[in-house]
Symmetry: C2
């Protein structure tokens, strides 16, 4: 069987949709969107509707949906809670369809919409995601969400963990320098992930807003076996 191709994209500004029409795209936004979404599915959410604009989120709220919505780390006044994974408790989300406001995330989902499938990856669902990817006969793109179109360290290191596991499986090969670099960054970080990511910019940003309480959790391997995927524009658990 020919090896499947593995690519990595370090920022939405670097994504090339026409190259990835047959691929599974794994969106990685460790701090905090991917981690929050994986946590919500772990806690039994039925579906998550990602929306871009504040007004769209407000309309859903009027219709009775639970809405998670932040801008620059501050919970919007009409929202039920913010974007920390700790907000998506089983008490709040089990069995419900909720709305998640994320300008960056919806832009990325749109960018990747021509791919075969979009899934949400994080450290929290690492081994389950690897197992699922291996069960599919598809090329894979690890798509780092970054921050304001910039490269970031935590998403790249997480992509590197995925890259190493997939390449080690001998089912994938790569001719993509970003994939090789990500795998090397993971090698630098793996023995002390939390210590390594002390230096990342997003950690400082979250800390300055008092939002860094969830970082330790977001760097936890294999908290859940859920595989959130996009179907018809909505996040559901892949079953």
């Amino acid at each position: 069987m020919p090896l499947r191709n593995l690519d990595t994209c370090f920022s939405p500004a670097l994504y090339e949709p026409e190259l990835h029409k047959g691929s599974i795209v794994v969106i990685i936004d460790v701090l905090r969107a991917s981690s929050a979404i994986c946590t919500a599915f772990h806690n039994g959410v039925s579906a998550i509707i990602p929306v871009a604009g504040v007004e769209e989120a407000r309309e859903y709220k009027k219709k009775g949906y639970l809405v998670a919505a932040e801008r620059d780390g501050f919970i919007l006044d009409f929202a039920d809670f913010g974007n920390s994974p700790f907000n998506f408790t089983a008490e709040k989300v089990r069995g419900k369809t909720i709305v998640y406001s994320t300008t960056n995330g919806t832009g990325i989902i749109k960018l990747a919409s021509s791919a075969y499938r979009i899934a949400i990856g994080s450290f929290l669902n690492f081994t389950a995601m690897i197992r699922w990817l291996l069960s599919q006969d598809k090329d894979v793109v690890l798509f780092c969400a970054g921050w304001k179109n910039r490269f970031n360290l935590e998403d790249s290191v997480c992509a590197g963990a995925y890259a190493k596991a997939l390449l080690d499986s001998s089912s994938y090969s790569t001719i993509c320098d970003s994939t090789l670099a990500a795998a090397d960054l993971w090698s630098s970080a793996a023995s002390d992930l939390r210590g390594y990511l002390e230096k990342c910019a997003q950690r400082s940003r979250l800390r300055s807003k008092g939002l860094d309480d969830c970082i330790d959790f977001c760097l936890t391997m294999d908290f859940t076996d859920k595989i959130p995927v996009i179907k018809n524009g909505i996040l559901v658990n892949n079953i």
Copy 2:
């Protein structure tokens, strides 16, 4: 004295001109433009005129200039030689103003044109460039040329060597994840740079065209003390 800021940009698609107006931008295109330009100045070229289009290069040829011009690794029929550093010998270039055709390079120079100054960095002029940067009281951006807007390994590793030296000097600090990642990639590569870059995509591309004979040379540290800079759109040696 407050520390100067150090940023790194992994691709032209990630460059943010408005952030770098007061900065020195070091353009890094290890395989092969930066290395060829440094070699030409080492061998006594007076100036290099970078041009984007084939027709523009052809017009300069008609006026009597020596012209280096390739597309996809093939020397254009009217040109005197291609873009390998080995072409820019003292016999050919000493005392002359020559023309260098590079679509990618001129695009990058244009992108960075609002910066305080643009310089050309490579492994070949590494220590001289570090010394010169330290002598300036300016923020620095390490601008990796990449390949077709993609991240590449050789430019990022070279940027990482610069980043480590500048951060170690205690004159610079960074809050830029790309800079931290580049420095870590350099740490992975430094003990065996040539072996490390065996895997990079550009090496395979050059090899498939028989253009890889210069790679070993391009990875040589401190071959020259020249600091090519852009003045009025033209590359000259900074003195």
